[in-house]
């Protein structure tokens, strides 16, 4: 018995020496790692923010030399506790908000009815770019949400085997569809930036709430109103942040260290939740929320009365260029 106690003490002392010499920061700890006091938990708690215990490795992967990094526990706690709350509040909150808005305001109708005359709103290449980015985004969003919430929400429904298979394919789709998504973002930025520069007219639109809160009020707007410009910049800035952070996750040897990699995963996850919530609002107003809006990205042509109500200045510009029928052609036709 005394022999085994002695062996245990020797082992504890050896572990203490190992930790003490592994990193200078560990050697400067405030407590004395005596044979009785050395416990992993105590050691971890003594490490300050940014401290690490590293070892010596012989493979060309510098990150593998991190043995203990206390900040990793904060990162893990964030992934498990705070991120689901952020995502839940943002996404479910937006869904509830939209449902309440639909119940109170109803579908936004064309006040003067459909004229039966069409005006080209988006050319085929613009629609192609929109759907390229949108279709990739939907797959990226669903597969990304599966990473955050799949174990809680889908695993109990599908079972372990099916969930693992689905998650495996979802991860592959997430990794590779990110590239056409990034391409779509770049093209979208190039073709629509000129119509999305904020101006004085946008402030008027915002002050009038875009006219969406009451019938018959339609603040003037050019090709894109302030709300659409907001969505454009959310997509561009949010998409850029998602792309940069996603790039670091795709190629995890690019960040300088494990802490930087964890930082980018947090950025990726938080922006994703906010991005998805914003896109839910965009999808709502472009489909269920506003009569006649989907045609813009469906066929590319919208009703002239719809265009006059929501983009009066743009219609005037198109008419001046001879690219739109004149106002005298418009008349309300009964809905079919």
């Amino acid at each position: 018995m005394p022999s085994s106690l002695s062996n245990l003490r020797a082992l504890c002392a050896a572990i203490a020496l190992l930790f003490a010499f592994a990193h200078p920061a560990a050697a400067q700890l405030s407590f004395k790692p005596t044979a009785e006091a050395v416990q992993e938990d105590k050691l971890l708690n003594a490490l300050k923010e940014g401290d690490k215990i590293t070892g010596r490795i012989s493979i060309p992967d510098s990150m593998a030399s991190s043995l203990i990094q206390p900040a990793g526990r904060d990162w893990r706690d964030f992934q498990r506790s705070k991120l689901p709350i952020i995502g839940g509040v943002a996404i479910l909150g937006m869904l509830v908000l939209l449902a309440v808005f639909l119940m109170m305001r109803g579908r936004i109708r064309v006040d003067h009815g459909f004229s039966g005359t069409k005006i080209l709103r988006f050319a085929s290449f613009e629609r192609f770019t929109h759907w390229l980015t949108a279709s990739c985004f939907i797959v990226l969003a669903l597969s990304g949400l599966n990473i955050s919430f799949g174990r809680v929400l889908i695993l109990p429904l599908f079972g372990a085997g099916a969930f693992a298979t689905m998650s495996g394919y979802a991860k592959i789709a997430h990794d590779y569809l990110a590239f056409p998504f990034m391409l779509g973002l770049v093209i979208m930025f190039l073709i629509w930036i000129k119509d999305n520069i904020p101006g004085k007219i946008d402030w008027q639109w915002i002050k009038q709430g875009g006219g969406i809160l009451s019938n018959g009020k339609h603040p003037p707007a050019r090709r894109f109103n302030a709300g659409q410009k907001g969505i454009f910049w959310i997509v561009i800035i949010g998409g850029a942040l998602m792309s940069v952070s996603g790039w670091f996750l795709l190629f995890p040897y690019l960040p300088a260290n494990v802490t930087a990699l964890q930082f980018w995963t947090v950025i990726h996850a938080v922006i994703a939740m906010l991005f998805i919530a914003a896109m839910l609002a965009h999808i709502y107003i472009g489909s269920v929320g506003m009569e006649g809006a989907f045609d813009a990205m469906g066929t590319g042509e919208v009703d002239l009365n719809w265009a006059k109500e929501h983009h009066s200045l743009w219609v005037a510009e198109e008419q001046a260029k001879g690219r739109a029928p004149s106002g005298s052609d418009t008349r309300a036709v009964p809905a079919e």
Partner: protein, 51 residues
């Protein structure tokens, strides 16, 4: 509708092309991190493995 279908097809083709290119220019971790002094074992068939 044509634009939508074209976008879906392009996204799928682009994703496949990217996966092919990355598979070509990247090495599996068991190969990339193996040196003359250290051999990294094949991680096998899982999400982080080569297959």
């Amino acid at each position: 509708m044509k634009s939508f279908l074209a976008a879906l097809a392009f996204a799928a083709i682009a994703a496949f092309c990217v996966s092919s290119v990355l598979d070509t220019i990247q090495q599996a971790s068991s190969v990339a991190y193996t040196t003359s002094g250290a051999r990294v074992g094949d991680p096998g068939n899982n999400l982080i493995g080569p297959n």
